[in-house]
Amino acid sequence: MEPLKLIFLVTGAVTLLSALMVVTARKLVHAALWLVLTLAAVSVLFVLLNAPFLAIVQVVIYIGAIAILIIFAVMLTRRSMEDTGSQTSNRWWLAGLIAVALFAAILLLVVSHPAVSTGVSGAAPADSLRQLGLGLVSVNAYVLPFELASVLLLAALIGASFVARPPESAAEGGEE
């Protein structure tokens, strides 16, 4: 057993267990914290896959921004649903069935495809960070999606701050 394999098994187990806790935790803030652990474990998986830039971006964006945003949203909407009562809808067993069926289908597909099920990785790519940087600004590569992504983020910023601003007293009641 090589150390990398052990680290992968431990990280994979942590990812799946904390994801299960996210979807079954009774208190919503606990679910948010389990989500943070899941995101951190996924970041470790990215490091194992020789993509350190994406691992750090995962921590900065998901844990540093989205997770804090989710925790804020949970705290700001606490009054309506205190952590008592049922947290799952009435047909949760159907949802579980669908999830298990989908996982079985994916697993079947993965193990039956010969190239995928026994694929081993080639040499780790050298200088992938520089290639990524060049690719994101090169006209022949991905500069257009890059620019569109920044426009999308700008639109999301403006939209979110507009939607979530406190209602003015005169415009209350169905104006927006």
Partner: protein
């Protein structure tokens, strides 16, 4: 070495757990957390395929970066909407938000 199928199975499991979270939870913020799990599973898939099949090109990593951007903007707008809905209806239970205007 770790075979590719392990990574794909892990990503598939994470996706299905996220799917269960989206379909079974009542609180809108919890549904959003399930969506984030699904997006993470997609990212793991993309990076695993990049690493194992085409490590020389960067299209896998570029795609994953786009998924990051989309996930961030979707989380921001979604949470803003949830907070706005909470201000009006005083509830974030997804089953109770079922009429456009009352």
């Amino acid at each position: 070495m770790i075979p590719l199928s392990w990574y794909l199975a892990l990503a598939g499991a994470l996706f299905c757990i996220g799917l269960y979270g989206v379909l079974a939870r009542r609180n809108a913020v919890a549904i959003l957390m399930g969506i984030e799990l699904m997006l993470n599973a997609v990212n793991i898939n993309l990076i695993a395929f990049w690493r194992y099949v085409t490590p020389a090109q960067i299209s896998g990593q570029a795609f994953a970066i786009m998924v990051f951007a989309v996930a961030a903007s979707e989380a921001a707008v979604g949470l803003a909407l949830i907070i706005s809905i909470y201000r009006r209806r005083m509830t974030v239970v997804a089953e109770e938000i079922d009429m456009l205007k009352w």
